[in-house]
């Protein structure tokens, strides 16, 4: 048995029945990281192996004494946007390249409470601004999947949670967590062939998660199965008095309810999504997905989300506007990078010019502009009104359907370096993921097939506010129908062959 191929749920079962020990499981991951991380660059910071193994041994004793938590000893990757006590937390920025928090984010704290074992902090686009995990102060992450036509080509992981997606896909973590602002969990999940869930806004606490755009940021699981995502979400979610935007609703036992029958569910197919630069393969896969759901007794309904095409510009106004304010605290005074200067304003300007990368600087400038006097009404206020209409689109649709099925991204992963010059081209990757973020509704990406060159493609299921259960249930059906070959991504096998 190759331990690193097990899903989270399978490994849990194995540990509970003592088929293998936590130490064995964790050692397998440490070996895998050692051999592959230098190539893939999924992690920015790795926890010291001796600490990990010590924790693993403690976990083993807890299994023996039956005091184990739900995630006891399960090796997990944490996106470097979550603050973790005593572990460097950088948001992939030079600004925080030496920042070691004295505190723990709520979401990671809940994972730790269930015994999760953190392997390290995964790479991302700086401050979660990007769709490729190339905008990192710590170099890009590489997608483990390769085109069967050209093995020399390298593909992006997607982003911004690309490091987490790659860690899960390339067997460098059994599961991971990411954050999604406009698609940052779902799009890399789609590019790397894993499951990624963006919960309803307010489902998971944002406390201790480094803010990009506060009205959109949401933590979520990235896993090798829908069952794993359900379990992870169940642990991560729930009321937190430290986050005023976190919902006080009770959290369902997703791990019990993710396989609800979908028979008779009404599934909306938004006609506007057909137009937007979608590849023929993606289109074909979408049709396949529709057939799978029909086979399970779902009713397919043609729907309209009329403001879809305005989602992207709307998002790229609102998110940078919030970011320009959220990132003002990085001023070189109380923590993080500082470039000294004899005048305070100069200190700010140099610190922020050198501490932030190009894409972050660009978004701060855009955000500053759209909020500034004379432009606020035309950009920010207008975008917030359009956002109301986009949410209205979903509310109207959900009067008639239970979930909405779309592709996660218009294409498979693109080649590393191919979109570098044109930010708008890069922004277009988010076209299908952004509307759900703006509306605050939950959305799940499930790997559903491969394109002609052998790269993964994901389907997205969007649900009603706080109805992750239905979203997961539909995802579970697609997962079974697609029986997606999670592993092995070709690059990994090749690299293993060379290195061993």
């Amino acid at each position: 048995m190759t331990l690193t191929k097990l899903t989270l749920s399978e490994a849990r079962a194995g540990l509970l029945s003592r088929q293998f020990s936590v130490r064995e499981l964790v050692q397998a991951y440490l070996d895998s990281i050692k051999s592959l991380n230098p190539t893939l660059n999924a992690y920015i910071t790795l926890c010291p192996p001796e600490n990990i193994l010590r924790t693993a041994d403690i976990a083993d004793t807890r299994y023996k004494s039956k005091e184990n938590g739900l995630l006891e000893g399960l090796p997990i990757g944490i996106k470097d946007i979550f603050c973790t006590r005593g572990i460097r937390s950088t948001a992939a920025s030079r600004m925080l390249s030496d920042f070691i928090p004295s505190y723990e984010s709520t979401v990671t704290e809940r994972l730790l409470k269930e015994g999760a074992l953190f392997l390290g902090k995964t790479n991302m686009d700086e401050f979660a601004m990007g769709s490729s995990t190339t905008h990192s102060y710590f170099e890009p992450t590489i997608n483990p999947w390769q085109s069967k036509d050209d093995l020399d080509k390298k593909f992006v992981a997607g982003g911004s949670s690309g490091g987490s997606a790659v860690a899960v896909s390339a067997e460098l973590a059994i599961a991971a967590i990411g954050s999604d602002t406009g698609g940052s969990i779902r799009q890399p999940a789609s590019y790397c062939g894993i499951v990624g869930l963006k919960p309803t806004y307010g489902r998971c606490s944002r406390f201790g998660m480094i803010a990009y755009a506060s009205s959109l940021d949401q933590a979520g699981p990235m896993t090798r199965s829908v069952a794993d995502a359900a379990l992870m979400l169940e642990i991560m979610a729930g009321e937190d008095p430290r986050d005023s935007t976190c919902s006080t609703r009770s959290v369902p036992r997703f791990s019990n309810s993710y396989e609800k029958s979908v028979k008779g569910l009404r599934v909306g197919i938004p006609r506007e999504y057909r137009n937007e630069g979608i590849s023929s393969e993606v289109n074909a896969l979408w049709n396949k997905g529709i057939e799978w759901l029909k086979d399970e007794g779902c009713e397919i309904v043609d729907i309209s989300l009329p403001h879809t095409r305005y989602g992207l510009p709307c998002y790229y106004i609102i998110a940078p506007a919030e970011a320009s304010s959220n990132l003002a605290r990085y001023d070189g005074i109380r923590f993080g990078f500082r470039q000294d200067a004899p005048i305070l304003d100069e200190l700010y300007e140099k610190t922020r010019a050198e501490g932030f990368g190009a894409e972050v600087r660009r978004r701060i400038l855009i955000g500053t502009y759209v909020l500034s006097a004379g432009y606020y009404d035309a950009y920010y206020l207008k975008a917030q009104k359009v956002r109301t209409l986009i949410r209205q689109d979903f509310e109207d649709a959900f009067k008639n359907v239970d979930v909405i099925l779309t592709p996660t991204a218009p294409t498979a992963a693109f080649e590393l370096g191919s979109h570098n010059d044109d930010p708008i081209q890069m922004y277009l990757n988010d076209i299908f993921t952004v509307p759900a973020s703006l509306a605050g509704v939950p959305a799940l990406s499930v790997p559903a097939g491969l394109d002609q060159s052998g790269l993964p493609l994901g389907m997205q299921i969007i649900g009603r506010h706080f109805d992750e259960e239905t979203v997961l249930s539909v995802g579970s059906v697609l997962e079974k129908a697609a029986s997606f070959p999670y592993c092995p991504p070709p690059l990994c096998t090749m690299y293993r062959r060379v290195s061993t």
Binding site: Y310, D331, G336, V386
Partner: protein, 95 residues
Amino acid sequence: MSLTPEITKHIAKLARIELSPDEIEPICHTLNNILGWFEQIAEVCTDNISPMVSTEIDSLHMREDLVTEKNQRESLLAAAPQTSGPFYTVPRVVE
């Protein structure tokens, strides 16, 4: 609405991000492209539509007036790039 190099400089000043003279032109160009792309939202009719402020229709929850924080000066200042005694320090400011 076209962004001039002058406005670009003003925005960078507001955002406290230094731009070198040779950066201004290309950044101005990129920002103009992005802003131009934004213009499409102007076509949407938003008469009588209120801006969306938060995602869930919910009211702000509040905490009780309790002191829950202890003195943590030492650990706070330890994270700072520059301090003097019990203070953070910045270049001298004239008011």
